[in-house]
Symmetry: D2
Subunit: 160 residues, 4 copies
């Protein structure tokens, strides 16, 4: 049954480096192999690469879109959710997941990381942002060295 499965978000930029895109595809593939459902923002770049990887292993892919039309979803999204609320949907992307894997990314990704940490949803980072507050390092983003480690950490922390 789908509703016993774990929901993991993969977040990252629409214009990743080739290396980030490869990481995302591998993360998507691993999530599918391990039976998790992939949640993402539904657009291109890291989101598309992750969905492509998941679909190559028959995984389920959900795209929570900012705009007004399902047509904006990347071709590997099976379940497009049309929020029509623009980038305020970033909150819904992370809230719909039990853990988040961040790959690279720009300020949109950083807003998703922030919303996840504010909500107590674990964030695993691959080549992404690091944070300090008032000059003091914040270690809330859990580092991973590679896609397998990222997926394993995400799945083990996806308990809510």
């Amino acid at each position: 049954m789908i509703n016993k499965k774990r929901f993991i978000a993969v977040i990252g930029g629409a214009e990743p480096s080739p290396r980030e895109a490869k990481l995302a595809e591998e993360v998507g593939r691993e999530l599918a192999i391990k039976g998790a459902i992939l949640v993402c923002g539904g657009l291109g770049g890291v989101m598309e690469a992750a969905c492509k990887g998941a679909q190559s292993e028959s995984g389920v892919t959900i795209g929570i879109l900012p705009g007004e039309s399902r047509q904006a979803a990347n071709p590997y999204v099976q379940i497009p959710i049309v929020t029509a609320i623009g980038y305020a949907r970033n909150l819904a992307v992370v809230k719909s997941a039990q853990a988040v894997i961040a790959i690279g990314g720009s300020y949109g990704t950083l807003s998703e990381i922030s919303h996840a940490l504010q909500s107590g949803i674990p964030v695993i980072g691959l080549n992404t942002w690091s944070l300090s507050r008032n000059g003091k390092q914040d270690n809330s983003i859990i580092l991973a060295q590679n896609p397998t480690e990222a997926v394993n950490k995400a799945l083990s922390l996806a308990t809510n």
Copy 2:
């Protein structure tokens, strides 16, 4: 493939009459039999009855929740989307569907009917609201006499 399937929203109140609950369950069942994916607001009442019907025929059920937690989803939701935007999520429920079936319902349902009509998404009505503007009847809600007719009309109009 899921993404060739049609997405149909079932909307209606959290406190339906027994007859409305029965209509909703039958609509859910028919949608699943005909291979459509059920979208709803994820909570109780009409939403739960429709999901129950769909699940009894192995259909896929999506619940687009208003609150902060997947735990609020009814037990027949397989794919909970946690929007965390309250009743502003009503817009996302209808936007994520290619046609909408409204069963009974109160003002929340009416807001969903309105958002659908504003977006050009067909609305099929079973014992639900009727509208007039400036004293002139508005016939945008397509009437159906029973669940089978509602589902057939929804599927034939779900073309966007």
Copy 3:
């Protein structure tokens, strides 16, 4: 002090009839004369006419915009709120008011009426929608015959 003032929303279509535009301007003027703050969706048509009327009497006008830019506000909006959440902002328009005056309008206006009624916020109607549910008239929209009556009813009901 502003925060002792009453906040009244004026809702209605972007393409009103000349008569509706005139009603809206008169409503805006009366609200300003009576010291209320005008809340609206910030765009053209009924919203602009109401703001124009309010401004002609030195009233305060708030426009809660759907898009990404304050530039979209009509020229009579003094306080543009840029929600960036599209038509999901319809909920914010009515929630930010203590009573709502609906003038004409299409499905967007109907979604606002619905959200207001769902939230227990009084709705006064001038030439607008009327509703029935399951063949039974719903009289929740309080009818007014002219702008003065609409404003008086809105102000007397704006108690929350």
Copy 4:
């Protein structure tokens, strides 16, 4: 006229240190003295201190609230906007401003900083987050040493 004025957001945590609260109050006061309108999230902590400062100099204060009720606004908010979309309103707080001053803050503040930077809205920081991406310092947050400098920088950059 209000609509020629500049709108500046002050963001920061609900539980600031005494020093941060003092900075926020001083920022609010300076904004009011210089004729800017203060936008904030409407709740306590930094938001309340900034509103208190602004009100002490007869400034206008706008609170863009996450919840369902104007009653949640701090007592120095003159114009409460009730979004009812929870923390997705963080986007509206920064989008409604022409520049943002961040004081301290936790992950909610970080989400607001991120949304502002993504939207090209200048962010001035007082004792707040600093960012690096992929091990490389990101200097998009403009540092200020004190409230006067923060306000001056915000006003000079508030051009959109």
